[in-house]
Symmetry: C2
């Protein structure tokens, strides 16, 4: 049984509540865009590719609700979280369909299929790297939960494991929300891939002792020069990997590549509530009068990246121009295919919003 973060069925978007894992598996159905927006904001669903798909379906739900225009729905969903590029790509994919009179739900499902397909290709492209680099450290969750199916960072490890490589994963627990210990460990456990959870603090220790062969992470937004945002702590792992001569890989679908960001300084970093550091379960973890700062992401300069693993294969930071061009070509090809399909069926724009 494969892990799925979300799916659409009989008019409802179903989200696996990722805040409750691993102790409870809770699935909730959504029919209204407001509730989908709140689910993204409160991290019922998280991971850049997954929130892009959730937002795409949120747009589709809005198109069936009274009183919603595509612009209003896009504004609401776009205000939920600032960093992940995929959110905006998912919204725009459906908004464009909605504005051009195509079926928004069909567009959302098409967007989903594209993301899943790209993650699958990432798995195939990245797997050969892990034939000889078997002890792999990952940060946060860039697995199926983060990407609907397959994962980005975890996809190559899954494929390598399936092909018989003795993969072992070091799982950074990933404070404050523990996406590593709660989600990545849960996925790996479901699939029988050997792993050990460690405090984020211990990654450097194991790297220095020669017990880490590679690091692989996902991304929330990749700028044109290869600087990228990902879960806070990623920058620390990247610096430590280079210090210890360990290759550092970043796996992402096209939706994470942002042609509008020239470099990392253009990427907005979300700062979340102090409460995520202050409390866990029923326990208070710090004095009430003390303050906390809680950036959810950090930006890692491209010079720390050995290779990006993309749907079209591996790319060095300097070779990213080609990936950006491939991304544009893929979008154009889909538009062209839709254009000819429309021409064939004689369908026309019937709905249009501001």
């Amino acid at each position: 049984m494969s892990v799925r973060a979300l799916w659409f069925e009989r008019g409802r978007l179903f989200l696996l509540d990722q805040r409750r894992l691993p102790s409870r598996v809770v699935v909730q159905g959504y029919t209204q865009v407001e509730h989908v927006a709140e689910a993204i904001r409160s991290m019922v669903v998280r991971g850049a590719p997954s929130i892009g798909v959730a937002a795409a379906y949120g747009m589709a739900l809005a198109s069936r609700q009274a009183g919603w225009t595509s612009a209003r729905a896009a504004r609401l969903l776009g205000s939920t979280r600032p960093t992940a590029n995929d959110l905006f790509v998912g919204i725009d994919a459906v908004r464009s369909a909605w504005d051009h009179g195509r079926d928004p739900l069909e567009a959302a499902s098409e967007y989903r299929d594209i993301v899943v397909g790209e993650c699958h290709r990432i798995g195939e492209a990245g797997a050969p790297l892990f034939r000889t680099r078997e002890r792999v450290l990952t940060h946060c969750n860039a697995g199926a939960l983060a990407t609907v199916e397959w994962g980005t960072a975890l996809a190559p490890l899954r494929v390598a494991h399936d092909r018989g490589s003795p993969i072992f994963v070091w799982v950074d627990e990933t404070r404050p929300l523990l996406q590593g210990s709660r989600l990545t460990a849960w996925e790996l456990e479901q699939e029988g891939i050997p792993h050990a959870v460690i405090a984020d603090n211990a990654a450097g220790h194991f790297m220095r002792r020669g017990e880490v062969d590679a690091v692989i992470v996902g991304a929330d937004r990749i700028a044109r020069n290869g600087d990228f945002a990902n879960k806070v702590g990623t920058y620390e792992k990247a610096v430590l990997a280079r210090e210890n001569g360990i290759p550092f890989y970043v796996a992402a679908p096209f939706s994470t590549f942002d042609p509008a960001s020239a470099d990392g300084t253009a990427i907005p970093v979300e700062e979340r509530s102090e409460e995520e550091l202050r409390r866990m379960g029923g326990s208070e973890l710090m004095p009430r009068k003390s303050r906390a700062r809680n950036p959810a992401f950090d930006v890692t300069p491209s010079r720390f990246v050995t290779s990006f693993i993309t749907p079209t294969g591996l790319a060095s930071p300097r070779g990213l121009g080609q990936v950006f061009r491939a991304r544009v070509r893929a979008t154009e090809a889909r538009s062209a295919a839709r254009g000819s399909a429309r021409a064939r069926t004689g369908r026309r724009s019937t709905r249009r919003s501001d």
Copy 2:
């Protein structure tokens, strides 16, 4: 009211239970060495200088219990935790008194006074560094709780704050046991020093954004070449500080300097129970079948240290030979002083154990 980790009064060693802070202030009295050993093992008391003093008093308690020899008490207390050098120095200080017929309790109190005095001098020696480096990151707790009074890493910050420097402390929460958010934040809050708790993952982010002027930590054991062990994650901060051109200071009393360790490879690193990562309060943080690895310390090579802050002032890693010689001279001076005191009072060895 100043923070005190432990004190001896009317035949009892009192320990502030550091596991319960900050939500509860619980103090427990101890009269038996077995219970003191268990308190050290389970981290009721922690921090290298504090566990050294607790062990010294544990030896003194053993000397008043039936059936204990100095060797047996030293073996028990020495088996509690392997990394902190201070533990063994504190044990040996009292064992030597016991074996030579001096009063073990007096020796324990003398050892305590030495540690507190050295921490005070560390504060004076280090404070001038922080007149212009005001936003200081620290990892774990090297405050009064870790050192009986004053602190090591926190001592210079306390002194600088008292002298009017606008000190602001970035407090790494320090997973898995949260000595930063629970203990360091609590101490800083008690003393009105502005601070913010951050996830360990966020330290690199704030360093890269130029919001950290210096890093200061304590140590559990310093080898002759300046390699040192400290709470896991210290190595990560040291690498990140150097990457970002930020000075990195290590503050420690003489008891932390280990002449028997030539370099970091000689320092044993304690690995603690998975449970520290698995659960918090009532919450399970990871899948039951997943494994965890939990090294409590890491070793940072001396090349990452800008200066050691010692009771005799600042020392570069290359200047540590002088600190080790000063440590030996201080010990010899105390022995000589005791010798002449003994000669004056005509006191003789009356008790001796194996």
